[in-house]
């Protein structure tokens, strides 16, 4: 059983995810709440199911393509079907060891386009950058 805590400003919500495949309620909630320019910071141990969550979210948003781990590419973007969001950017900060290198991804510019939402895995690695962002949803996954 996984417990997912979703924090957005003062709001705090908890979801139970019974199996690795079943993210239904959480994914629906996130898909409903998410706005352009939002950053979803996904924290959790290796194997907690971060990529699986992003895969479910992408499916919920109508992405037909395969959504593999962006560890190698660092960043992947998908066109989505959603009333306000047109693009979902999936970032993996796993390999970012120096936050200065993260700037090279030009993510600030990508968010500024007004149609994109970002999901970031391993937000621990880019705390400073996240601190400067306006709208961050913290989502942490615990348990197996």
């Amino acid at each position: 059983m996984r417990i997912v805590t979703l924090k957005h400003g003062k709001d705090c919500k908890r979801f139970r995810v019974p199996t690795e495949k079943d993210w239904g309620e959480l994914v629906e909630y996130v898909a409903e709440q998410i706005k352009p320019g939002d950053i979803l910071a996904l924290s959790g141990e290796l194997g907690a199911g971060k990529t699986t969550f992003v895969q479910s979210l992408a499916r919920e948003l109508g992405v037909k393509k395969n959504t593999p781990s962006p560890t190698f590419a660092l960043m992947r973007s998908y066109a989505v079907r959603h009333p306000s969001i047109k693009r979902l950017i999936h970032v993996d900060a796993y390999r970012i060891e120096n936050e200065r290198d993260f700037v090279a991804l030009d993510l600030d510019e990508e968010i500024a386009d007004g149609i994109s939402a970002v999901v970031i895995e391993w937000p621990e690695n880019i705390k400073k950058w996240l601190g400067r962002q306006a709208s961050v949803l913290d989502l942490s996954i615990t348990g197996f």
């Binding site: 290796l46 194997g47 395969n66 781990s69 190698f72 660092l74 700037v103 090279a104």
Partner: protein
């Protein structure tokens, strides 16, 4: 009746009036549809015999009013047997479909009323590299194929084009005979028919060019590489090839970091291009020692090349753009065509560069593409025609090696180190899961494996961790688990798709254990030779894939070409 060159829907073309005049006169053909003059049409033809659904649409388009004529387009009479077999297969299917749809009105197609003609069939053949259509006579208005050169087949290897023409002719005659036999059964001699031409083009067709010198540029991830490749029908020769690896710089970071990557690409691409094109010695002594074989005139004028191939994606956008900018600048300066290449296609082409593989190169070929960023099973039906039958759902196999390596304290890139430690280790020492090994799909998943290794490592005591035996055994177990999954999936894909050859490409293909296990598992299938020295990212493979694209008549506008980080096969 005048037939002008005019494009209609679904990639149908009407050939020029002069080219078909003679055929028309003889066959009394009035509306001649010429399918697949170019790439689009070729896809159309592919769909005739590959996809049942599209096939039905195509056949409905052709309709019962349509007679089928096969045109063969060859260079040097290559691949005659295969092409004829394809044509016959397509005709068989079409004939069956036509029979099924006989006089079935199609909502899409309203046949024109045209003057009647009898049961006739016309064949037009292309000369090698010629742009005009040349009618062949006295063919096909009698049933006996004129075997002018009965020994043509035995001379198929001769590069003489006259012999090739004879060979083509021979093939055409058989093909046409077959067409007539097929159509004979169900056409009504009193009805009006339209004639459709199906172009069966030899995949090695290269418009007007027998030898192509391609400059390849690769900058998709952490390697900058430039190569010059001579491609001809029979052979490929690497004239120049250099990889300026950035791995030493990345080792500090424990991975590829985009800004660092792009910055080094800029520095290195200029040096490499200087060396490739002008033969200038570089301050880097390892470059200075190597000369360039041929092509450089006095070490001052640039090497003459025919086209530029550059990696377009997938990869890191910032890095890709460095190579693309270099390529398009050269295209602008030299006026040569530029073609953007899919990096994954480049990996497949690396197997084609091995001379011994050229004889074994028979489609379909199943590729296991395993690298740091990709793990895919690709079925290659023809040059530039691919189908991804399975891919990783999360981590790539190379990533699995690198990440598990990092977990147990190895440095980047961890793959070769794991392989080295694994030599002395016991692969059954630790129980590591084989994710999705029993899943019926051909997809892979390696994230579970990674977490299992992490859990295993965290449960160990510090004393145990520091033991050499622990390390070698763990490495052997990890390697065996990854290799097990790769081999199992490949074997089941071979069972299902029955390819005529199997190849392992990409960085992980250098793993000896993987090669060994694959050879044992695939006793009855041809396993292509590993591309030694070309398994990692390099420009020679990009140039080769670029040559495939150019053979298909593709090229990009240098003004418009841009990086496509999310490109897919």
């Amino acid at each position: 009746m005048r037939v002008t060159k005019k494009r209609t829907r679904r990639g149908w073309w009407f050939p020029s009036a002069g080219a078909l005049e003679s055929v028309e006169r003889r066959a009394l053909v009035t509306g001649v549809a010429y399918v697949g003059a170019h790439h689009e049409g070729e896809r159309c033809f592919e769909s005739v015999f590959h996809d049942r659904e599209e096939n039905a649409v195509f056949a409905a388009d052709l309709h019962a009013e349509t007679l089928v004529v096969v045109e063969l387009l060859f260079e040097h009479g290559l691949a005659v047997e295969r092409t004829v077999a394809h044509a016959i297969a397509a005709l068989d299917r079409l004939a069956r479909n036509l029979e099924d749809n006989h006089r079935l009105p199609s909502p899409k197609c309203k046949p024109k009323v045209v003057p009647p003609f009898g049961r006739r069939c016309a064949v037009v053949a292309h000369d090698e590299g010629a742009t005009d259509i040349r009618p062949l006579e006295p063919f096909p208005f009698h049933r006996t194929p004129p075997c002018e050169k009965p020994d043509a087949e035995s001379r198929a290897d001769d590069e003489n084009s006259e012999c090739a023409a004879g060979n083509t002719f021979h093939a055409l005659s058989r093909c046409c005979e077959h067409t007539i036999a097929l159509i004979d059964g169900f056409v009504n001699p009193k009805r009006v028919y339209r004639i459709a031409f199906i172009v069966v083009r030899s995949s090695r067709y290269m418009p007007g060019k027998r030898r192509l010198r391609v400059l390849g540029i690769e900058t998709s991830c952490d390697e900058t590489s430039v190569a010059i490749l001579d491609v001809s029908e029979k052979s490929t020769r690497i004239v120049f090839h250099e990889i300026a690896s950035q791995i030493p710089a990345h080792q500090i970071y424990g991975g590829v970091v985009p800004e660092v990557a792009a910055r080094l690409h800029v520095k290195e691409i200029v040096e490499l291009l200087d060396l490739a094109l002008w033969g200038k010695t570089s301050p880097n002594p390892s470059f200075a020692r190597r000369g360039i074989e041929g092509g450089v005139r006095g070490g001052l004028s640039p090497v003459v090349f025919d086209a530029i191939a550059v990696t377009q994606g997938p990869g890191l956008a910032t890095a890709l753009r460095v190579g693309i900018e270099a390529g398009r600048t050269l295209a602008f300066l030299t006026g040569k065509p530029i073609v953007g290449v899919n990096h994954l296609e480049g990996h497949l082409a690396s197997a084609w560069l091995v001379p011994e593989n050229r004889k074994l190169w028979k489609f379909p070929i199943l590729f296991l593409l395993v690298s740091g960023g990709h793990t895919e099973l690709v079925l290659m039906k023809d040059f530039c025609s691919y189908r991804v039958i399975g891919r990783t759902r999360d981590d790539a196999s190379g990533e699995a090696f690198d990440k598990t390596g990092k977990l147990i304290g190895l440095s980047y890139p961890a793959g070769p180190q794991i392989a080295k430690f694994a030599e002395d280790g016991d692969s059954s020492a630790y129980d590591i899961p084989r994710p999705m090994i029993n899943d019926p799909s051909f997809d892979f998943s390696f994230s579970g494996l990674k977490s299992a290794v992490r859990r295993l490592w965290e449960e160990m005591s510090d004393k145990e961790k520091s033991k050499k035996k622990t390390r070698v055994d763990l490495c052997a177990s990890i390697q065996e688990a990854i290799v097990d999954v790769l081999v199992a999936k490949t074997v089941s894909a071979v069972k299902k798709y029955k390819p005529r050859a199997v190849a392992i490409v990409g960085g992980v293909s250098a793993n000896k254990r993987l090669q060994e296990r694959m050879r044992d598992a695939l006793e009855d299938t041809t396993l292509l030779h590993a591309a030694r020295g070309l398994h990692t990212d390099n420009a020679a493979m990009i140039a080769a894939a670029g040559a495939w694209r150019l053979m298909k008549g593709e090229k990009h506008d240098w003004k418009k070409i841009d990086a496509e980080p999310e490109l897919d096969l």
